[in-house]
C-alpha cells in the first residue's frame, strides 16, 4: 500500500488539509514545532486502525473537535482506494472504503476485509512500533519487545536447531542443579559426599573397636591365665585336703596290716609239708636199719665166690687175636681168586694204553704239536658241543645270505647299466633338453592344439550365429512396416477421430456445446489411440532391430577376438610333429609324442629309483659283510673259549673236534682201568699185611713167615690154637652163671636200702630241714603263719576298701610311718580355709571372663565393618558416576555454549540479519553485527574489532541508529510477506550528527528507490534542504486552521 493523498476534514489541529503525494516514494514533510506533524501521523494510523478513543484529556478531544473525519487515498496492488473514517470525538470511527476507478467511485460492501487486505492484517500496535515511529519509539527498547515485533527480532519461534540448543542448555542446567549446588549445599554429589563421610566415620569407629578388641582379648588372656593358676591352686588344695583326710582314715587299718606283715616276715615262708609226714619219717628210720644189715651179709658171700673162679686163664695173644684170626681164615678163598683177577686187569690196561697212543697219533696229524695235556684242557661238555654246532650253523647261514645278496646286487647293477645307456641315448635325441622340459613342451603343444581346435569350433559357431543374426535382421527390417491393411485401419481411425473433432467443434458452435464436446473428445480419443498404436508398433520393431544389431556387433567383436586368440596360439614348433592333413591328426601325433616322452620320463624315474636302490643295497651289503665279520669273530671266540685252535673252516674244525673227543675218551678209559687195578692191589696188600701182623704177634709161640707166598702154611696152626681157646671159654661160661645170681641178690638188697634212705632224704629236703627234730619245729611255725595270713587278708581287704574310696591317691608307706594325727588335723584346717578364699576369687574371675568372652564373641560376629566397607565402595561407585556425570555436564555445557555462540552469530533471525546490514551502513562500518542471545530478549552489538556490547552500553545516537535499522529491517521483512505499508518517521534524526544524518538519508533514499514508501516528518529545515538538494520534494505544512479552543496544543 502506498499513500497517494492525505485528506483531513477534521482531526486534531487540522481542518480540510490535503497532502497529495506525487508518486516519489520518499516524501519529506516539513513543519515547525506545533505544526501538527504528530497529529498527521496519528491521523494516518487512526484512519487505518481507528482513532484513539482513550487518553484524550480534553472534554471533547485535545482540540475540542466533536467529530473526527478524514480519508487516505491509497494504491494497493494497482487499485486505488479511498479509506475514510468518521466518528465522534471519543469513538474509533466508522470505516468506509471506496474503490476508485475510471468509471467512478464504488463503495465496498465489506470495508474491514478490504482494509485488512490492504494493511496485510497488521494491527495498530505493530503499525505504531514498526511502521510509524517517532523519536520516543526510536529511543526506547520497550517498543521492540511487543509480541509480534519480538518474534521477528528475538526469534521467539526458534527453528529446531535453536530449540535443540536451548533445550540442551536448559536441561544441562537442571541436571547440574540436581547434582551440585554449591551455594545451598544441595544436590546428589553433596548427599553422596555426606554419606561417604558418615561411612568413613563408622569405619573409623569400627576400627577403633578392633583396637579395643585386642586390648580386651589380652585382658581375657591374662584373666584366663589367672583362672588357670587359681584352678591349679584350688585343685592342689583339694588334693591336699583329700590326702589328709585319707591319711586319717587309712592310718589304723594300715597299722594293723603293717604289724601282721612284720610278724609274717619273721616266720618261715609257707611251704607244703606232706600230710602225716612226721609219722612216716619215724617208720622209715626203723626200715633203714633192717635193710642195712641184710645187704652187708650177702655182699660178703659174693666176694668169696669170685675169688674162687679167677684161678685158670688162657694165652692172652690167642685170646686177643682170636676174632681177627677167624676172619682171615674165612677170607682164605677170596685171597686166592683175587690174585688171578689182578693178572687179567693188567692185561686190559696195556691194551687200553696202546689204543690211546693210536688216537693221539691220529689227532696230531690234524693238529700238529698237540699233547694229551692240551686235549684234557679242552671243554668237552655237551653244552660246548651244542654251542659249537649253533655257532657253526649261524656262521654258515650268514655266509650263505651274503652270497645270495651279492648275486642279486650284481644282477641289479647289470640291469641299471643297460637302462642308463638307453636313457643317455634318449637324452641325446632330445638335443640337450631335459625329458621333463620336453614333456612339458609337448603337453603345452597338445594343449595349444586342443585350444586352437576349440577356438576354431567357436569361430565356426559364431560365424553361424552371425549369419543367423544377419538373416534375422533382414527379416525384421522387412517387418518394420506394419501390414498395409493395418496402416489403412489406423489411418482411418485417426482421420475418423479428426473428423469427429471437427464435427464436435462445429456442433458446439452451431447447436449445443455438450454433444459438440462429446464428439470433440471422442474424436480426440480415436485419433490419439490410432496414433499410439502406430507409434507403439514402430517402437517395438525398432527396439528388436536395435537389439539384433547390437547382438551382431557383439558377435563380430567376439569373432575377431577369437581369431586373434587363434593367431596368438600358432606355434612354429608344431612343424616338429610333421605334416598333418588336419588338426585331429596333429592332436594324435602330439598325444603320441606326449606318451613317448612320458615313457622316457618313467624310464628316467625307474633308473633314478634303481640308483637309489643300488645305493641302499650297497649299504646293506656293507651291513651284511659287517655282520659276517662279527659272527666270524664270535665263532673264533667260541673256539678259543672251548680250547680248540682258531679256524674259519667249520668242517675241519668239526673233524678235529671228533678226534679230540675220541682221544679224550680213550684217555678216560685208560685212567679208569688203572684206578680199578690199583684198588684190587691195595685190598690184597692189606689182607697179606694183616696175616703177617697176626703171625708176628703169635711168633713168641711159633716161627715167623719170611715170604708172602708161604702164607698158606700158617692157617692150620691157627685152627688148632682157636680150638683150645674155644674149650676154655665154655668152662668159664658155666662159673659165670652161678656168680651172676649171687650178684643179683646183693644188688637188690643194696637198692632196697638205698631206696629207703632216699625216701627219708626226700621228705627232709621237702621240708627244708636236716633232722627229724627240725621237721617237728617247722610244722609248728607253719601253722602260726597260716593263721597270720588269714588275719592279714582280712585287714588288707579293709585297707583296700578304704583305698578304693580315693583311687587317685597313692599310699606312701613313709608318710604313714611318719603320720601324726594331731598335726594332720591342723593342716587340714589351714588348707580348707585357703581353698575357700581361692574359690571366691575364682568365681569372680570366671564371671569377669564370661562377660569378656561374651563381649568378644559379639565383636567377632559383628559384620558391620564389612558392611560399612561395602557400603562405602557402593557410595564411592555412585560418587564416581555422579562426578563423571557432573564433569560430563561441564564439558557438554561448554561445547553447547560454543555451539550457541556460533549459532547466535551465524543463524540469527532474518530481521536482525537485515538490521545488521543497515546498521553497518548507517554506522559507516563501525559496527558489524547485531544479534540477540538465544532465548533472550536483549540485543548485542559487535563492532569492527569484534568487541561485544549490550545495547544499553552504547551511545544514544548509536542506539537510535540501531533501533531505526531494526525498524527498517522489520518493514522489509513485512514487505517480503506482502505487507506493504509506508514507513513513517517523525523527527527520528534529531540526535544524529551531520554525517550520520546524511548517511541515514542516503540509506533511506536508497531504500526508497526499491519501491518502499517513506514519509518523513521533520521540524528541521536543514533536513528538508538536505533532501531538496538530493532532488526530493518537501512538503511544507501550512499553518493549521484549528483554533486552540481546547487550549492545549500537543502536536509537534
Amino acid at each position: 500500500m502506498k499513500i497517494r493523498q492525505i485528506e483531513v476534514d477534521r482531526f486534531g489541529p487540522w481542518r480540510n488539509l490535503r497532502l497529495p503525494f506525487e508518486g516519489h516514494p520518499f516524501e519529506m514533510i516539513y513543519g515547525p514545532n506545533e505544526a501538527g506533524k504528530s497529529s498527521l501521523m496519528r491521523f494516518i494510523r487512526g484512519v487505518l486502525y481507528g482513532y484513539d478513543s482513550h487518553a484524550l484529556e480534553g472534554p471533547r478531544g485535545d482540540f475540542g473537535e466533536d467529530v473526527r473525519r478524514g480519508a487516505l487515498l491509497v494504491e494497493h496492488r494497482g487499485v486505488e482506494y479511498r479509506i475514510s473514517r468518521e466518528g465522534e470525538w471519543n469513538e474509533r470511527g466508522t470505516l468506509h472504503v471506496d474503490r476508485l476507478s475510471s468509471s467512478g467511485e464504488r463503495r465496498e460492501e465489506q470495508p474491514d476485509a478490504i482494509l485488512r487486505s490492504i494493511t496485510g492484517g497488521t494491527d495498530e500496535l505493530l503499525f505504531q512500533n514498526a511502521f510509524a515511529v517517532g523519536l520516543d519509539e526510536v529511543q526506547h527498547l520497550a517498543s521492540l519487545h511487543e509480541e509480534e515485533v519480538g518474534q521477528h527480532i528475538y526469534g521467539l519461534t526458534l527453528g529446531p536447531a535453536g530449540r535443540q540448543i536451548l533445550k540442551a542448555n536448559t536441561e544441562a542446567e537442571r541436571h547440574q542443579q540436581q547434582l551440585f549446588q554449591p551455594a545451598v549445599k544441595q544436590g546428589e554429589l553433596f548427599s553422596l559426599m555426606a554419606e561417604e563421610d558418615r561411612l568413613q566415620k563408622e569405619i573409623v569407629q569400627a576400627t577403633t573397636n578392633s583396637g579395643v578388641y585386642l586390648e580386651k582379648k589380652k585382658q581375657l588372656s591374662n584373666l584366663q591365665d589367672e583362672i588357670e593358676a587359681l584352678r591349679k591352686r584350688q585343685q592342689y588344695l583339694q588334693q591336699e585336703q583329700r590326702g589328709c583326710r585319707f591319711m586319717e582314715l587309712i592310718y589304723k587299718p594300715w597299722r594293723q596290716v603293717y604289724d601282721y606283715e612284720q610278724e609274717l616276715k619273721r616266720l618261715p615262708v609257707r611251704r607244703n609239708l606232706p600230710v602225716g609226714g612226721l609219722e612216716k619219717l619215724r617208720r622209715l628210720e626203723s626200715d633203714i636199719n633192717q635193710a642195712r644189715h641184710s645187704y652187708r651179709d650177702r655182699r660178703g658171700y659174693y666176694r668169696n665166690s669170685l675169688k674162687q673162679s679167677s684161678g685158670m686163664k688162657p694165652d692172652s695173644n690167642v685170646r686177643r687175636q682170636a676174632n681177627l684170626m677167624q676172619t682171615l681164615l674165612d677170607q682164605r678163598g677170596w685171597y686166592q681168586d683175587e690174585r688171578g683177577e689182578i693178572d687179567r686187569a693188567e692185561e686190559k690196561l696195556r691194551s687200553a694204553r696202546h689204543d690211546l697212543n693210536h688216537q693221539l697219533n691220529q689227532l696230531q696229524a690234524l693238529w700238529p704239536g698237540v699233547s694229551l695235556e692240551r686235549c684234557r684242557q679242552i671243554r668237552m661238555t655237551s653244552g660246548s658241543n651244542r654251542e659249537l654246532l649253533a655257532a657253526a650253523r649261524k656262521y654258515q647261514r650268514e655266509l650263505a645270505k651274503r652270497s645270495r645278496f651279492r648275486k642279486r646286487y650284481d644282477n641289479l647293477v647289470r640291469r641299471n647299466q643297460t637302462r642308463t645307456a638307453e636313457l643317455t641315448q634318449v637324452r641325446l635325441d632330445l638335443n640337450g633338453l631335459s625329458i621333463t622340459e620336453a614333456l612339458s613342451r609337448a603337453r603345452q603343444q597338445l594343449s595349444n592344439i586342443k585350444r586352437r581346435l576349440e577356438l576354431q569350433l567357436q569361430i565356426k559357431a559364431f560365424q553361424e550365429r552371425m549369419e543367423r543374426s544377419q538373416a534375422q535382421l533382414a527379416r525384421q527390417e522387412e517387418r518394420i512396416g506394419l501390414p498395409t491393411l493395418a496402416y489403412l485401419a489406423i489411418t482411418i481411425f485417426v482421420l475418423g477421430g479428426l473428423l469427429a473433432v471437427g464435427f464436435g467443434l462445429w456442433m458446439a458452435r452451431q447447436q449445443s456445446w455438450l454433444p459438440g464436446a462429446i464428439y470433440f473428445f471422442l474424436g480426440l480419443t480415436s485419433a490419439g489411440i490410432g496414433w499410439s498404436i502406430k507409434s507403439h508398433f514402430r517402437n517395438v520393431v525398432s527396439e528388436t532391430v536395435r537389439e539384433t544389431q547390437d547382438d551382431l556387433f557383439e558377435t563380430r567383436a567376439k569373432l575377431n577376438q577369437l581369431q586373434r586368440e587363434v593367431d596368438r596360439l600358432y606355434d612354429p614348433r608344431l612343424s616338429d610333429l610333421g605334416d598333418a592333413p588336419d588338426t585331429e591328426s596333429l592332436i594324435d601325433r602330439a598325444y603320441q609324442k606326449v606318451r613317448e616322452l612320458e615313457g622316457h620320463q618313467e624310464l628316467e624315474q625307474r633308473v633314478q629309483a634303481e640308483r637309489e636302490r643300488l645305493s641302499r643295497w650297497r649299504n646293506r651289503s656293507q651291513d651284511l659283510q659287517r655282520k659276517v665279520s662279527e659272527i666270524r669273530q664270535q665263532w673264533c671266540q667260541l673256539l678259543q673259549r672251548i680250547g680248540l685252535p682258531e679256524s674259519v673252516k667249520t668242517e675241519e674244525t668239526f673233524a678235529l673236534w671228533e678226534h679230540v673227543q675220541s682221544t679224550v675218551a680213550a684217555d678216560a678209559q685208560l685212567r679208569q682201568l688203572e684206578e680199578a687195578l690199583g684198588n684190587r692191589r691195595h685190598a690184597l696188600d692189606h689182607f697179606e699185611s694183616q696175616v703177617l701182623r697176626v703171625n708176628d704177634d703169635l711168633a713168641t709161640d711159633g716161627e715167623t713167615i719170611q715170604n708172602r707166598s708161604s702164607l698158606h702154611s700158617v692157617f692150620p696152626q691157627w685152627e688148632d690154637l682157636l680150638g683150645q681157646y674155644g674149650e676154655w671159654r665154655s668152662v668159664r661160661r658155666k662159673n659165670r652163671t652161678a656168680t651172676r645170681d649171687t650178684r643179683r641178690e646183693v644188688r637188690r638188697l643194696q637198692k632196697e636200702y638205698e631206696s629207703l634212705r632216699s625216701e627219708r632224704s626226700e621228705l627232709l629236703k621237702k621240708a627244708g630241714v636236716h633232722s627229724f627234730e627240725e621237721y617237728a619245729e617247722l610244722e609248728e611255725k607253719l601253722k602260726r603263719r597260716q593263721e597270720l595270713e588269714e588275719l592279714l587278708a582280712l585287714a588288707q581287704a579293709d585297707l583296700d576298701r578304704l583305698a578304693r574310696t580315693e583311687p587317685e591317691l597313692a599310699i606312701v608307706e613313709e608318710d604313714l610311718e611318719q603320720f601324726d594325727p594331731a598335726a594332720n588335723q591342723s593342716r587340714l584346717y589351714d588348707l580348707s580355709s585357703e581353698e575357700k578364699n581361692i574359690a571366691a576369687k575364682l568365681a569372680r574371675s570366671l564371671e569377669e571372663s564370661g562377660a569378656l568372652k561374651q563381649q568378644l564373641s559379639h565383636w567377632e560376629s559383628d559384620q558391620s565393618l564389612m558392611r560399612f566397607r561395602q557400603e562405602l565402595a557402593i557410595v564411592r561407585a555412585k560418587l564416581h558416576e555422579a562426578t563423571s556425570r557432573w564433569f560430563g555436564l561441564q564439558v557438554s555445557q561448554e561445547i553447547s555454549g560454543h555451539i550457541q555462540s556460533r549459532y547466535e552469530r551465524t543463524q540469527q533471525p532474518e530481521v536482525l540479519a537485515t538490521a545488521s546490514r543497515y546498521f553497518t551502513d548507517l554506522t559507516e562500518g563501525k559496527y558489524q553485527n547485531v544479534w540477540t542471545p538465544l532465548g533472550k530478549r536483549h540485543l548485542c552489538l559487535e563492532d569492527n574489532q569484534q568487541r561485544l556490547f549490550r545495547v544499553e552500553q552504547v551511545s544514544r545516537g548509536t542506539r537510535e541508529l540501531l533501533f531505526l535499522s531494526i525498524r527498517m529491517a522489520l518493514v522489509q521483512q513485512f514487505a517480503s510477506k506482502e505487507v506493504e505499508l509506508p514507513f513513517i518517521l517523525d523527527d527520528v534524526m534529531v540526535n544524529f550528527d551531520q554525517g550520520r544524518t546524511e548517511t541515514t538519508l542516503n540509506t533511506l533514499l536508497k531504500w526508497a528507490e526499491t519501491g518502499q514508501q517513506i514519509l518523513c516528518f521533520t521540524c528541521h529545515l536543514h533536513l528538508a534542504k538536505m533532501l531538496e538538494d538530493r532532488g526530493v520534494k518537501t512538503f511544507h505544512l501550512p499553518k493549521h486552521q484549528a483554533t486552540a479552543e481546547a487550549g492545549n496544543r500537543w502536536a509537534g
Binding site: P160, A161, R163, Q164, I165, K167, A168, E171, A172, H175, P182, L189, M193, A206, T207, N209, S210, Y213, L214, S221, W859, E860, S861, D862, Q863, L865, M866, R867, R869, Q870, E871, L872, A873, I874, R876, A877, K878, L879, H880, E881, T883, S884, R885, W886, F887, G888, L889, Q890, V891, S892, I895, S896, H898, I899, R902
Partner: protein, 444 residues
Amino acid sequence: MPQSPLRFLHADQLNLDVPLEGISAISSSSLQELSTAPLNLLDNLLEYAMEESVPFVLLTGTLFGADPPSLAAQSALRQFAAELYELGVELVLAPHPLERQLLSRQYWDELEAILLEPNLSASIELESSSSHAHAHLHVEIQLRKEGSNGYAASDPSRENEFRIVVLEADEPFSGLQSLLQAHTAGSEISEAACGHALEQVIESTHRTIDADYVALTGYGYRAQKKRDSHQHSRFYHAAGCLMPRTFEEAQVEKVGQATLVRVEPGQGIHLTSRRVAPLRLVPVSIQVHPADSKRDLERRLQEEIDALEPAAVEKLFIIEWNINGAGDLLFELADTELRRDLEKKLKGSRPLIHQWKLWPDRNALEHAYSQEPLASQFLEQLQQYAETNPGNLVSDFLSRLEIDSQWQHRLRQLGTELSTESILAAACQQGGAYFVSTEEGVER
C-alpha cells in the same frame, strides 16, 4: 616328582575384607549378601576340601586385604582353619607380607594352620593311599619372594618327596619395574609387554628354583591369561583371585575358582578349577546399532543371561552391561525408569543385580550424524577433549567454578580417579541426547 598320587587345593587372593567395587545400584538385602559373601566363600571352600578329601589346602596371597582386617573376617578364617583341622586337613597359609605384620603373632599362633615364613621350609608328612611301597610322602613348601637371594637350588626331589614353592611377586614385581621405568608417566603399557616381562621373571626363576609346583601369587590377573605353563617338568600356576572384587578382575578366566592340583605318578600334574565364590561378576559388552529397538536389546540381554552357566555354589550374578555403539536407544537408556522396566523383564536362573554403563561410540555417531550440523559440531568439539589429560580437564573446570575450596579439593580428588573416557561418555550422554538424537532431545 613323587611316586605316589597327591591331591591338594590351591587358592589365591582370598580378599575377605575387600568390598566389591564399581557397583552403584543395589538393594539393602543384596548389600547384606555382598558384604557377607566372603564368609560364604569360606564355607564353599571347606565343602570342596571335604568333597575332594585333600590332605592339605594352600591359600596364597592377600587373605584380608584391609587395614585393619575386620574381626568378623579374622574370626571366620579362624573358624575355617579349626574346621579343617577337625577334618584332619592341614591349612597352609602364605599371606601377603604386610598382613603377616599387620596381625599379631598371637593370632597366627592361635590359627590351626601352617604359616609360611619367607625362605623357611614347612613340611607335611602324608600317608599315601596308594598300594605302592612308598607309604610316606613328604611335602615340602617354601615361600620365596621374587628377586630375593637364597634361590640356591637345593637337592633334587627324592622319589617320595613333593616340593612346592610359593613365589611371591615383588611390589611392583621387579620384572615390571624396568618396564615401568621405560615408560613415561601416563602412557599405556600393552598387555603383551606385561606378559613378556612376566615370562622373563619366570625364566629367571627357572634357573634358580627347583620345585615340582610353583604357586605364583601377587602377579595379578595379567599373569593369569597365559600362565598355566608346563615347562621343564615344573608347574607354574597362578590361581585366579578367589573373591572377585572388580569387573575388570572378573574378566580373568579363573577368578572365583579354587584349583584342585592332582599329581599322578608318571602322568605329571593336572589342574582342575571349580567355582567356589558365592557370587559372580559378569562384565558384558553389548553393541547397539541405530536400527535396534528396545525389544532387540531386551532379547540380546536375555541371550547373554541365558548363556551364563551357574555353578551350584553361586547365589547371585552381578552383571555390568557395557552398552556401547550409536543410536537413540543408547540415549534412552539413560532413563532410570526404562532401565528398571528392562531389568524386570530379564529373567535368570539366579538373582541378578544389574549395573549399567553407557558408552556412546563417538566415531559411529559422527558417521551416522554427519549430515546434522549441530551433532557434527558437538561431536567434533567433544573429540578435542579426548586428547586432554583427565587431571588437566578436571583442574580446568574446577578453576573456573566459584566453589568452596573444600569441595574443590574433594571434586579434584574424585576427578583424578576418573578416566577421560568416562567423562566424555557422560558428556556425550548428556549433550548427545539433545544434539545427536534425531528426536528433539530424549526426555530424561
